[in-house]
Symmetry: C2
DNA sequence: GCGGACTGGTGCAACGATGCACCGCATGCT
DNA sequence: AGCATGCGGTGCATCGTTGCACCAGTCCGC
């Protein structure tokens, strides 16, 4: 038996496998790492039998220490409590699993300091590839590690001028998405629209607003006449539940106007759900008195009452792309050039939008 | 400079710090591990300066290889895409972070094989503590590793007779929760209730049903008269979005009855949302014609229209407990006894429940 | 019968951090 | 003088895996 005294400790080592199979550890290692071109089939067989019998699993820490490689990637999101990020986490993990990679989960809670600390920790863990969902316009807080070789994929954030050269950016085309949403509303006959969002602090929020404006212009509506809510939102309006609270407050504001909008474009689905709630509080019926469009197409969009018209982000594909980009850079270890992937959004029409009543 | 040729590789070692500070690696290690009772303040200072200057972070792989310890715990959930599990992931990660631990995320997608493979992988990674959210009544598929020393916390699953002795179970008291929900409905005057759920395959589903029955009995209603939907649900009805689909189908069934129920207890919130949708499809108004109660209190319960009356699970506290239990067992490395923690659920009354119309 | 190639493996020195055993020196006690 | 004790550190073997360098044996060609 093993000499280790602790209850049934079962860390089987390559050495034990080697002994069991009557070969040297090197040979076992060779087999494990596919260097088996010059190995007798019977030797191979013996080793495999020994591995099965002992239930051997290579120790990752030792392997990583030796090779410097590893099969863990980091995922930094504002909060997995938010269904949108939850969906990303799920699909990313799924893509990673298919290639034998693992995902280390980090919730930044939208705190830049936490975001940065996490990336430091990941680096210390030997994680060299991270999918970062940052709300911050600048990535300078992680630049030192990128210089040291950290591979970074920015998700839900288009690339910016100051970004590191090696950065990969993955995002839906926010402007187009918003424009599709807006166009859908104007096509239905709406002329009095409102855009609901917190401060346009992040890149993609700005883009979405840009798409909204473009959509209006296309329909011959003066963007200056369009509404923005909630007003006086220069402050920190981040958060998840908060997004819906914000939508609700915005809706309350809009309802109180002399001439309320007949259609509302919300910055995302959570916000849109809040808007719906706020409208209902104000005695209006969504999908009848007022139309509402969201963004993201989270699971609940199709569950809500009324079901929510929204702009879908192809999450599965985007997550898969994030992983494969990361993986390619991790493997080749060559100084690959950064790039930007913009996915095409899709308008999903449901019940929350309809022609204006008047 | 460093001899490593790869672009600006920045893996600073303890040796470099030692050289920089003019001491031996052992001394640096001593400081790092709090063995600094016999160290000149100035020596300590020199080392700290060197660490800062070089931006040194201990290599976890090396540390783990040497000590056998590590600060990563595993989390296996059916799917983080589901807001309920997303919330758990978030809170668990938060509790772990506070103590310097990390969370490795695994989506089992409710596949027992995947669940087991993941736990194997985690073990190979040197992860000795796992929070497992299994839908399976039996844990035998992970028993071998538990015997080898794996610390397991079962979440959202009360302990069972066949469970390993060291297992910690954390769950809300499902029976009480369901009973509270049912009692709330009978207090409102409802006499004709239905219970909506997929197959009562898991432990907590059975418990919830038991609470429902208990609630009925308490109100002097014969449980035999209560309805169950959807009918003929012996099969696999797992999944997330599926839960809502199931609720919707069940609602359709119930609406079609000669004497439809006036109140519905759903197995969880996602299911309840589906029920609401199905009722709406059938022309009934939730919170007026029919009352609906959910379970979990996911974020969307308070956003839905109408807002959902539900039974809240104290997720933050439960997640914190899961982590601290795990941590205690990981640190002491003593053969701690297993235990079962049952949290008190709380009924959250919102708009989806009201007295019956008739 | 000697160089060269091939075959099926093995030896060994790392990777970076750890922590026990131990060191030389000074001081105290009897 | 003789021994213990405290101080501020250091030396070294070790964790499990890896992969280059190397080896002994056989076979071939000239």
């Amino acid at each position: 038996m093993r000499k280790n005294a602790r209850v049934g400790m079962g860390e089987v080592t390559i050495q034990q496998v080697a002994t069991e199979a009557g070969v040297s550890p090197s040979t076992v290692s060779n087999l494990l790492n596919g260097r088996n071109h010059r190995m007798l089939p019977e030797t191979r067989q013996r080793i495999e039998t020994a591995i099965d019998k002992l239930g051997y699993r290579p120790n990752r820490a030792a392997r990583q220490l030796r090779t410097g490689r590893n099969t863990t990637i980091g995922l930094v999101v504002p909060s997995v409590g938010n269904p949108f990020w939850g969906a990303l986490a799920r699909h990313l993990e799924s893509a990673a699993l298919a290639e034998g990679y693992h995902v280390l989960l980090c919730n930044s809670e939208r705190d830049p300091r936490r975001e940065r600390d996490y990336i430091d920790e990941l680096w210390a863990d030997g994680v060299h590839g991270v999918v970062l969902c940052s709300s911050l316009p600048s990535l300078e807080h992680v630049l030192p590690l990128v210089d040291r070789g950290l591979q970074l994929v920015a998700f839900d954030r288009t690339s910016q001028a100051g970004d590191p050269a090696s950065l990969v950016s993955i995002s839906v085309d926010n402007a187009i998405g918003s424009q599709l949403a807006t166009q859908h509303l104007t096509d239905l006959g709406h002329r009095r629209l409102a855009f609901v969002s917190g401060a346009l602090a992040s890149v993609n929020r700005k883009e979405r607003y840009r798409g909204f404006v473009a959509g209006l212009e296309q329909a011959g509506i003066d963007p200056a006449e369009a509404l923005r809510a909630p007003t006086g939102t220069g402050a920190d309006d981040f958060g998840d539940v908060e997004a819906s609270e914000l939508g609700r407050a915005a809706a309350a504001e809009l309802v109180a106007l002399d001439e309320p909008p007949t259609a509302i474009v919300a910055i995302n689905d959570m916000c849109a759900l809040g808007v719906c709630r706020g409208l209902r509080d104000g005695g209006l019926e969504v999908g009848k008195d007022v139309s509402v469009v969201g963004f993201d197409d989270i699971v609940l969009a199709d569950l809500y009452a009324p079901t929510l018209t929204t702009v879908r982000q192809p999450m599965r594909e985007m997550a898969a792309a994030a992983f494969s980009q990361l993986r390619a850079r991790l493997d080749d270890s060559g100084p690959t050039q950064g790039q930007s992937l913009l996915f095409r959004p899709e308008l999903i029409v449901r019940e929350s939008t309809a022609p204006p009543v008047a």
